[in-house]
Symmetry: C2
Subunit: 201 residues, 2 copies
DNA sequence: TGTACATCAGTGAACGCGCGTTCACTGATGTAC
DNA sequence: TGTACATCAGTGAACGCGCGTTCACTGATGTAC
């Protein structure tokens, strides 16, 4: 009870891999199911043995991504001091690397969110924990003397908006090495959340 | 030589108006040409008397918008001092109001930019002057003593990204009165472009 | 181990839906004399 | 001003393309005995 299932699993993996390639190349909305099967070197009908629709394969890629993220235990023992530029940089870099690593899926999700309320909701769910996480760091920083330009949760939401917009702007616009993009963004954000010098670091 | 042309112009105006309504309600990508004609109370074929395609009507709306913007002479005698929070606020508010006023067209353009490189380019062209404008103010502010977190043009680009992302986040997410959104954003940006106190205003 | 049958992943041509686009037709407006 | 013909915006049914989806078929793998 195994060769057959292994082969099927392989085909499914090939289709997912092809989907990532094609989504990255043409974008999710511009991708036809036959583009995926062609890229995978399979017949069109083969797709439906594994996924009922284009949305479904995106859901599968999303699930894979979330498993990977969980497994990487990304936040273990990180520097959460937002009064330290290094603490800010760590978080910027973490998001940046996440975006780079999962670009086809993240972009596909962003595109799907435009035409589908279901995926819009998924996207919000995906972002919410990170916003909460940063808001907590911001509150800590404020208690340690930083003067925020507004409510921590709102500031965290603005930072999240900026991260998303700027990472895609920099990476897709091929503006230069990641390092520079991260440094620029870190400087901007660190400065933004230190409105006045009272007693930071 | 006139009643006929007047009526045709009226129909064209009705179709444009209907397009704005429908784009706002369903989004550009989810809109069918018959959705526009139905909203305008016209037959499907009527659309093609005035526009060769859905893209063409968006181009027309875009052209109308640019004319309006030019006519409003938006930047006459404005406060361009970015060392003054009021100067920053003026620019944030200007973008915010622009977005509010032209929301259906701006959003349609953003959506069209996803599936069409032509519109992606249009969108960049639309934003470029504002970025240049802000970069100039930033340079002035830096000369007057502000310490920017990076190169003025890059900082201006980040501000532009943030404006776009945050205005749609706030307005579409119905988070509260515009005033609060503008204030939060102004505080964030003002703080971001004043990394250290050396000799500002 | 060998044979006969069952199951199933995969194939790709064919089907059919949705929607953009066309076009013969209408009736009103414009033009010529 | 009146009549006969031309033009044109608008109509909506019909057409046809593109693409998602199905399905009869194949050949390989699995199962029963």
């Amino acid at each position: 009870v195994t060769v057959r299932k292994e082969q099927a699993a392989q085909t499914e993996a090939d289709l997912k891999k092809a989907a990532r390639v094609v989504f990255e190349r043409q974008g999710y909305l511009n991708t036809k199911i036959t583009d995926i099967t062609r890229e995978a070197g399979r017949a069109a009908g083969s797709f439906y043995t594994h996924f009922p629709s284009k949305d479904a394969i995106l859901e599968a890629l999303l699930a894979d991504m979330l498993v990977e993220v969980d497994e990487s235990l990304a936040f273990v023992g990180h520097n959460g001091d937002f009064n330290d530029p290094e603490g800010v940089r760590w978080h910027v870099a973490a998001y940046w690397n996440f975006y780079r690593q999962h670009k086809p899926v993240v972009q596909a999700l962003q595109q799907a969110a435009i035409t589908s309320e279901t995926f819009a909701e998924r996207l919000r769910e995906l972002m919410a924990p990170d916003i909460g996480h940063m808001a907590a760091h911001l509150r800590d920083a404020a208690e340690a003397g930083a003067v925020l330009p507004g409510d921590p949760h709102i500031v965290a939401t603005m930072i999240s908006s900026l991260l998303g917009a700027w990472a895609s702007e920099w990476i897709d616009g091929k503006r230069g090495p990641d390092d520079e993009g991260i440094t620029a963004l870190t400087g901007f954000i660190y400065s933004a959340i230190h409105s006045a010098r009272i007693g930071s670091g």
